[in-house]
């Protein structure tokens, strides 16, 4: 009498899996979409900024660090497989101008592909807050049609991969308090002061 294993093996050997018809087309499409991550750091008057970017755009921006080594170490820790490259056109120049108070808007492409829909919606709305102005977490929750989601909005902003470019520092508590900031409240205050925003503190 054959064992149950032998019978299963016999069954598998009789099984016929027809070859894939679209394998090559699928392979070509995927490789075309491959977003290699490149890393760059550069100095601004606020400190050393790190960016991670793909051929689709900026994936992440690291807020200013005190030294080149510090910025590089943090960036490589977050993207261990990123390849060091020259920063994409504009961004270093535009961030330097912004840090000196000479630029109000950024003309850079962001790569949102790694973000979940909710966070993407929050960040896209936050991106519309004009230079030098502030909005509350509740205002942003309303703007994306989820008025009860202030807390989740705060969380999505806290995890903003591209601070400054998406100005989450312009979102403050509804009582006029500063709210939170992943880069520390001192930096949030500094950025708002740089933009000339007024806070009722």
């Amino acid at each position: 009498m054959k064992s149950v294993e032998q019978r299963l093996v016999a069954l598998r050997e009789r099984e016929k899996i027809p070859a894939s018809l679209r394998r090559n087309a699928i392979r070509a499409r995927l490789l075309n979409a491959y977003p290699a991550t490149r890393l760059a750091i550069f100095e601004t008057s606020l400190g050393w900024v790190g960016v991670a970017f793909s051929n689709r755009g900026i994936r992440a921006l690291h807020l200013p660090r005190g030294s080149r080594a510090h910025a590089l170490r943090d960036l490589q820790r977050a993207f261990p497989y990123g390849v060091i490259a020259a920063p994409p056109a504009n961004i270093a120049h535009e961030l330097r101008e912004y840090a000196q108070g000479r630029r109000r808007e950024f003309d850079v492409t962001l790569d949102w592909s790694a973000l979940k829909p909710f966070q993407r919606a929050v960040l896209m709305s936050a991106r519309e807050i004009p230079f030098g102005e502030t909005r509350s977490y509740g205002w942003l929750a309303n703007a994306i049609g989820k008025p009860r989601a202030s807390r989740a909005v705060g969380q999505a902003l806290h995890n903003n991969p591209v601070p400054i470019l998406v100005p989450c520092h312009r979102v403050v508590a509804s009582d006029g308090g500063l709210g939170g900031y992943a880069g520390g409240l001192a930096l949030k205050r500094k950025l708002l002061a740089l933009e000339g925003a007024t806070l009722n503190l």
Partner: protein, 177 residues
């Protein structure tokens, strides 16, 4: 050996399109066969395998090496995608899910009597037991890979597989006598 290879392959797949191509070449056929066994159509199997690798492409930069076979990560994604496929299908029509997946699994097997008996015995197992046997004997995953796919310990994977086999054996005795 495979684990060392997988670890290096993961790094290559995370750093270059060519490396991701290697990952694709190493595992596409297995994922396609996995999907085909569960949905029974070439077109649907290619659709599912393509979304599995799209998900993989999106997630690979964040994947950290955990000393588990890469293929288990792909099978986990594939399991979700096959479930999505049946969910969408169920929404479309009131098709009986287990019936469809059993037919798909064995649709292309010739009906030798003895094998037909194995097939009938398999059909009488619970879905979880049947899936265990599919993973081990049809997808030919190692114990470690099954454990990583099902997100349980290797030990508990072996225990579950052993139980499923015992049950199948009993069902077969009833079939064949």
């Amino acid at each position: 050996m495979r684990r060392v290879d997988d670890r290096a392959l993961l790094v290559r797949a995370q750093t270059s399109a060519a490396g991701f191509g290697e990952l694709f070449d190493a595992y596409y056929d297995r994922i396609y066969a996995y999907a085909y066994r569960r949905v029974g159509s070439r077109d649907a199997a290619d659709d599912i395998a393509a979304t599995v690798f799209e998900d993989a492409l999106r997630g690979i930069q964040k994947l950290r090496w955990q000393d588990k076979p890469l293929v288990a990560w792909l099978y986990r994604i594939a399991a979700r995608r096959v479930a999505d496929f049946y969910r969408a299908k169920r929404d479309e029509s009131a098709l009986d899910e287990t019936l469809a997946s059993d037919d798909a699994l064995f649709a292309h097997i010739e009906h030798a009597d003895e094998l037909a008996a194995v097939r009938r015995a398999l059909a009488r197992l619970g879905e979880r037991e049947r899936e265990m046997i599919r993973l081990a004997y049809f997808d030919e995953l190692s114990g470690d890979a099954i454990a990583a796919t099902l997100n349980c310990s290797t030990n508990s994977a072996y225990v579950r597989l052993h139980r499923a086999l015992k049950k199948l054996e009993k069902e077969l005795r009833d079939e064949i006598g």
